[in-house]
């Protein structure tokens, strides 16, 4: 198991390098520099600015320098917010985005898995149709549509919850979390329903029933493990999706999180900021994929066995 984690961590290094390299050169290849938008700046000032940010150096030197900084955990200064480093900006936005993503994930897993398992217990009955129709609605209602609609109904119409912000007013975290989590809840519901249906038709479930186990034990002990394997495999990609979903949700609800920074930085051609956040996001996603892989292996003795045999 340890060697598996280690080898997966080692595999993550080339992935991250690809991400860093691709992003670095993509951003540099873009037409228009970070200072071109500002009007009437004397060329000397631009030159001085470029020198300050090492933009006058050859490309490869910039690249090596950046990698070196990264290795020391330094994402560099922001081009757009003079005097502030990318590290500071990330550190400011991260807790908010992390909290949002966490709540959304909880919403997704709790609602999604419960609904899916519940539906799978009695397939093709109202107990199946109702949660699954809701799930279909969740899938076909993207977050950028659901968010505004929720705001319209619960924020503006019923005035139950605040319509924007994060942590300023009581209850202002509810709508963003639901907006971000709902789509994934719907997806997880369908996945876990499919997984459970597959597992509950297996022979070993019949064996468990033939042993006279209460239905509760049959479902929770014998069914759930196998049924949730597709769900766990999906958690890695779901996390990546949640992060990019935070772009939209943070924009709609005016939350000062990383996602909004990212979109703004992209518009502003804030090189170091784009680079920094991309690398940061990529690292998070790669780590989360790794985590979901480890859980998948841990939960499945067959895979564990193969790992032992393989090494």
């Amino acid at each position: 198991m340890f060697r598996f984690i280690l080898s997966r961590l080692l595999q993550a290094i080339p992935v991250l390098l690809i991400v860093i390299t691709a992003t670095f050169f993509l951003v540099r290849a873009a037409p228009g520099g970070p200072f071109s938008a500002e009007k009437a700046v004397p060329p000397e000032v631009i030159k001085a600015l470029e020198a300050q940010y090492h933009l006058d150096q050859p490309m490869w030197q910039q690249y090596v320098g950046y990698l070196n900084d990264l290795a020391h955990g330094d994402f560099g200064p922001s081009f757009r917010y003079p005097g502030r480093t990318v590290n500071e900006l990330i550190a400011g936005g991260l807790p908010i985005t992390a909290e949002l993503a966490l709540y959304a994930m909880l919403v997704a897993i709790i609602i999604g898995v419960c609904a899916g398992v519940f539906a799978a217990l009695k397939p093709n009955t109202p107990q199946d149709y109702i949660p699954m129709s809701a799930a279909m609605l969740g899938i076909c209602m993207p977050s950028f549509l659901m968010g505004p609609l929720l705001v319209l109904i619960f924020g503006i119409g019923l005035e139950w919850v605040p319509v924007s912000g994060w942590g300023d007013l009581p209850g202002d975290k509810i709508l963003p979390s639901i907006t971000l989590g709902a789509g994934y809840a719907a997806f997880l519901a369908r996945l876990s329903r499919g997984g459970m249906l597959e597992v509950m038709s297996q022979d070993y479930i019949r064996t468990a029933r033939a042993k006279g186990l209460p239905e509760r034990v049959v479902v929770l002990k014998h069914g759930l493990r196998g049924g949730l394997i597709p769900v766990i495999a999906f958690l890695g990609p779901a996390f990546a999706g949640l992060l990019s979903g935070s772009f939209v949700v943070e924009t709609i609800f005016q939350i000062p999180g990383l996602g909004r920074f990212y979109v703004q930085a992209a518009f502003n051609r804030d090189y170091t900021m784009i680079l920094g956040t991309t690398v940061f996001f990529a690292t998070l996603i790669v780590l989360f994929n790794l985590l979901s892989d480890i859980v998948a292996v841990w939960i499945n003795p067959k895979l564990r066995h193969q790992l032992r045999e393989g090494h």
Binding site: R206, T207, A210, K211, G212, V217, R225, H305, G310
Partner: protein
Amino acid sequence: MPLLEVDNLTTHFHTREGVVQAVDGISFSVDRGETLAIVGESGSGKSVACYSLLKLIPQPPGEIVAGRALFEGKDLLQADKKTLQQIRGNDIAIIFQDPMTCLNPYLTVGEQLIEPLIYHHSSSRKEATQRAIEILGEVGIVEPEKRINSYPHEFSGGMRQRVMIAMALITEPKLLICDEPTTALDVTIQAQILDLVKALQLKRNIAVIFISHDLAVVAGVADKVAVMKDGLIVEQGSVDDIFYNTQHEYTKKLLASIPEGAKPGASSPGTFNPDASSIENKPLLSINGLKTHFHDYSGGWLKRNQKVIKAVDDVSLSIQPGEILGLVGESGSGKSTLGRSILQLVPVTSGSVIFDGTDLTQLSSAQMKPMRRRMQMIFQDPYASLNPRMTVFDTLAEPLLYHGLATRKTVTEQVLALMDDVGLARSAIRKYPHEFSGGQRQRIAVGRAIATKPELVIADEPVSALDVTIQAQILDLILTLVDKHHLTMLFISHDLSVVRYIADRIAVMHHGKLVETGSTESLFSAPQHEYTQKLLSAIPVADPARERERQMTLTKLIPESTSEI
């Protein structure tokens, strides 16, 4: 009063095509210490009947329509959920057919073993684990203290079935239902499992319902036999009555379908003398020092030190023109790989395959093409061996057209002739494989194999997926075709009685090596190799008296504890 008395049990399945009367009002009874065998072909309703007793059929689409099943005076069919749960696993336990899929792969064997004790006897985990270790030892698992923490996939098929048996018996049930407990197992393992069940039954004086399609197995284990067909019990009685005083036509047909004795019409041993033939006749096919090894890439493609599986390991044999050579072995013995190696369907590691003077291993795939016309294969699974998107016409016309044996004009006529040959109705020419039964599909597959008028046909377990009556028909079809088209055949099978029925000469394979070759009758009457002897002694025969006799000798032959993991 018998332990279980079933009266007029009726179970229906509601399908898209309408109501299927899976079990249509059957009655039987079984008492303590007694074994009732329910025999029938696939789809006869024998499993559904037993699952209905414990309401283990999926409802819907299944529905128990009528009947009574008195177990110690209580009607199981009327019992509420809770009572039923108490009876399941505690009073009535089931051993299922496929030990590969019937154990939960995510839980340790120990965890699954102790569950019935915890839920039925409210034992503590410690007590239950102790009991589980004891019973694992009892069913013949070595080092039960260690093995109890293993997962099912760490056991072999036979060992898993032992675990299943242990799990069923751990609560000391009064009735044990065995649903084809040995069908998925090799013949030597089957003998061990059957003996184990028998011994445990005697020791505990429990009632057993034994479901099987195999009359030979039934002859050895049953006291009473019920024969089922299309949801009805057509005949039931004591085992001797059923075998020696058969009443119903269907039972007679079943008994007659069991391949027994030598190849019909092979009473002229002068056709070829296998022992001396290699000098006089030029063999059609001769294999020398053939090795086929596989690399196991599951560990990852970067590692060079993968395991090498020696599927075929230095095999030499030859087949004379017109001969049927039976190739026998248990699962994993490499017999199928040998067949595929001959046809160059898998890459051969070393050795030569000389067909009519040409070494096939030296040919390029282009050079191989004309040779392929002359050698064909019949596959095991009639459901997988036909392209589901091609009609009978397409399937049979493909080899004819591809090898230029027919023109667009003549192809229909030739396909129809082929269909006549293999006994398919001409009207079915435009049908797709999924519209046929297993036996009919196998006829299509046979038709495809003989379409190119090959000299050599390799038949890989062509009848093992079929019911016994269909099996007999296909075997006879093969014999007729071999005769008519002067085919030479390598007939691969795990079933010794089938091979004995069809082959002139038999080769026995074990762990990739050829252990013994000989003419059918001499091999059966005087097996030389120890493994052949073991194999032969394990075959059940459909004769209760002989079975009783055989079991006496078998217990001496097979040691109690076994080192198989």
